[in-house]
């Protein structure tokens, strides 16, 4: 789900001490490729043996790919894909802008944090599946899907921004204070820059979440196009290979966006320590 950034935030102090990337033998893309091939092989074998009965939900990877290719060529994906991305992008931008503005307000004016933090946590605890139907009845067009996407994105980014702004170097802040600088100058000169890595960690996690939010919105039945709608149709037609294909496309797009935003974050804040994940 959406929210590992809190852990990233929690780790921010220790990251400076320890977690430098250790030399690993294999680059992640190579290990990942080998892993993906292995997984596909195991899946193929399992689908042909254990799960090989009519009506079971496991098609072979080859049939999924074949189905995907023919769907792609017949233009089934194009409009649905664009629709879902549009909804997700709107939610992504709205939710994150709100989160960043509020995060800055939280750090600059502690009273606002005290008053609104609980509401922010509550927004994170709202069951999106449950409020989906309400939003569907209340809003129109793309709005319910985008609203869900924005809601999912909001809290993790907020936490990322707050943790980042607070991770600013104590000495630099004190220096500005000693020369009579206001907290506004502290913000613009030191804090915003310090907040970049952990903000990008939040945005990175937000991208897959936004897509998930949009798809849940479509799934709840307000939309006419979109990958979620396409999936409902595929399931209704018991076209399991197509359903898996759509699920994999969603996963792939989410993964690509995750990687892309990570890359942008690294370009914008090259001083940030790498996560040493693989």
């Amino acid at each position: 789900m959406s929210t590992e950034v809190e852990a990233l935030g929690l780790d921010a102090p220790s990251r400076k001490v320890g977690a430098q990337a250790r030399p690993d033998g294999v680059p992640p893309w190579l290990g990942g490729t080998i892993g993906a091939i292995l997984l596909a092989l195991v899946w193929e074998v399992l689908a042909l043996t254990v799960f090989h009965k009519v009506g079971s939900g496991v098609p072979t990877p080859t049939s999924v790919v074949t189905q995907f290719w023919s769907d792609l060529r017949s233009g089934l994906y194009g409009p649905n894909f664009i629709q879902t991305m549009k909804e997700a992008a709107t939610g992504f931008v709205d939710g994150n802008v709100l989160a960043i503005v509020l995060g800055i307000a939280f750090v600059q004016l502690p009273l606002i944090e005290k008053a609104l933090l609980r509401i922010a946590v509550a927004s994170y605890c709202l069951p999106i599946i449950a409020i989906g139907p309400i939003l569907t009845f209340v809003l129109h067009g793309d709005a319910p899907q985008s609203a869900l996407a924005g809601l999912v994105v909001f809290f993790p980014t907020l936490v990322g921004v707050c943790v980042g702004l607070r991770s600013a170097d104590r000495n630099s802040l004190d220096l500005i204070r000693a020369y009579g600088g206001s907290s506004w100058i502290q913000l613009t000169r030191v804090r915003l820059r310090a907040a970049l890595p952990s903000t990008f960690a939040g945005l990175q996690i937000a991208a897959p979440s936004a897509i998930l939010g949009a798809i849940i919105g479509e799934y709840l039945g307000a939309a006419n196009t979109g990958l979620g709608v396409m999936m409902i149709d595929a399931e209704g037609a018991l076209d399991i290979a197509r359903t898996w294909g759509i699920a994999l496309v969603c996963t792939a797009v989410a993964g690509i966006l995750y990687g892309l935003i990570g890359l942008i974050g690294r370009l914008v804040a090259p001083w940030a320590p790498r996560k040493g994940m693989t």
């Binding site: 789900m1 590992e4 990233l8 102090p13 320890g18 977690a19 993906a36 709202l126 693989t278």
Partner: protein, 295 residues
């Protein structure tokens, strides 16, 4: 000569304790005050949302409607209304099911996440092969997969465990892995120079230093497990609060829907706060550095 002893005996002991108590009371009071303020703000936002968007009264239920639905409504056969007690019975029955389902997914996801990340730490080859995939799969839209999982795992508790487990597993895995890998290199070098086995290093050094990450995943998985449970109920088992969301499209009992949303949210917030409090208590003792900056 007696006075100083008295002071030493009594006041040195009592004064700090009294100071601590008053500070604690003050903190609790301010925390309660801001919680109350938050509740008021939420209620105003809720009412404002309904008024602002001109939502039909049949669909939109304001805080008062939910209160009436749960506490004061009388049965009325003509208007097809249940009594508040009846409503509560249904709501709490569903909530209990959802809580059970959420706990199953929560435990399954965390235990699996912890186990797999330990294997990943001990076996570098396995980690290098599967960790990149886990990062990509974390972005998997689970709604998309839930119906497929019901085809494989049926519509029983097994499916609840699988869906809830998947929802909780990937965040747990990635968080815990991150924590396990941020052990200071010097500590690891020390252990290996003393010839300590990998397993013992994991137990004595790596796992304790990952405590902040482990607690973070315990906390952020609380809402995740609720979502997983609702998802499983909605798409697989057809029980609990998740199923309430579905039936409302047929019964148009929006009072039930809004009340269920309120209940589920409240329970999630309470559970989240409990885990968060345990986290702060444990970390302030074992990893005080890790608490900085968190809002």
């Amino acid at each position: 000569m007696e006075l100083p002893t008295l002071l030493q005996e009594e006041d040195v002991e009592v004064l700090p304790r009294r100071a601590i108590r008053s500070a604690l009371l003050k903190r609790i009071a301010s925390s309660l005050g801001f919680t109350l303020l938050s509740v008021v703000v939420v209620l105003v936002l809720w009412e404002g949302f309904i008024v602002l968007y001109h939502i039909q009264p049949m669909i939109a239920k304001n805080p008062l409607d939910v209160w009436r639905y749960m506490f004061t409504q009388h049965a009325n056969v003509a208007a097809d209304l249940r009594s508040a007690a009846g409503n509560r019975q249904i709501l709490f029955h569903n909530l209990k099911t959802t809580l059970r389902d959420a706990s199953i997914g929560y435990v399954a996801g965390i235990v699996l996440g912890l186990a797999v990340s330990c294997i990943f730490i001990l076996q570098r080859m396995v980690r290098q092969t599967f960790m990149p995939i886990a990062i990509v799969l974390r972005s998997m839209p689970l709604v998309a997969l839930a119906p497929l999982l019901t085809l494989i795992f049926g519509r029983g508790l097994l499916c609840v465990a699988v869906i809830g487990g998947i929802v909780c597993f990937f965040p747990a895995l990635i968080n815990i892995m991150y924590g396990l890998r941020s052990t200071p290199q010097a500590m690891l070098d020390l252990m290996s120079s003393y010839g300590v086995s990998k397993l013992k290093t994991l137990r004595t050094v790596i796992l304790p230093s990952a405590l902040p990450s482990i607690f973070a995943s315990l906390r952020i998985n609380v809402p995740a497990s609720m979502i997983g449970a609702l998802l499983a109920e909605w798409l697989a088992t057809g029980q609990g609060s998740g199923q309430e969301m579905l039936t409302v499209e047929n019964t148009f009992d929006f009072g039930e829907l809004w009340s269920a949303v309120v209940l589920v949210t409240l329970v999630t917030i309470i559970a989240y706060s409990i885990v968060s409090a345990i986290e702060v208590a444990v970390l302030s003792r074992y990893a005080p550095d890790a608490l900085g900056g968190r809002p």
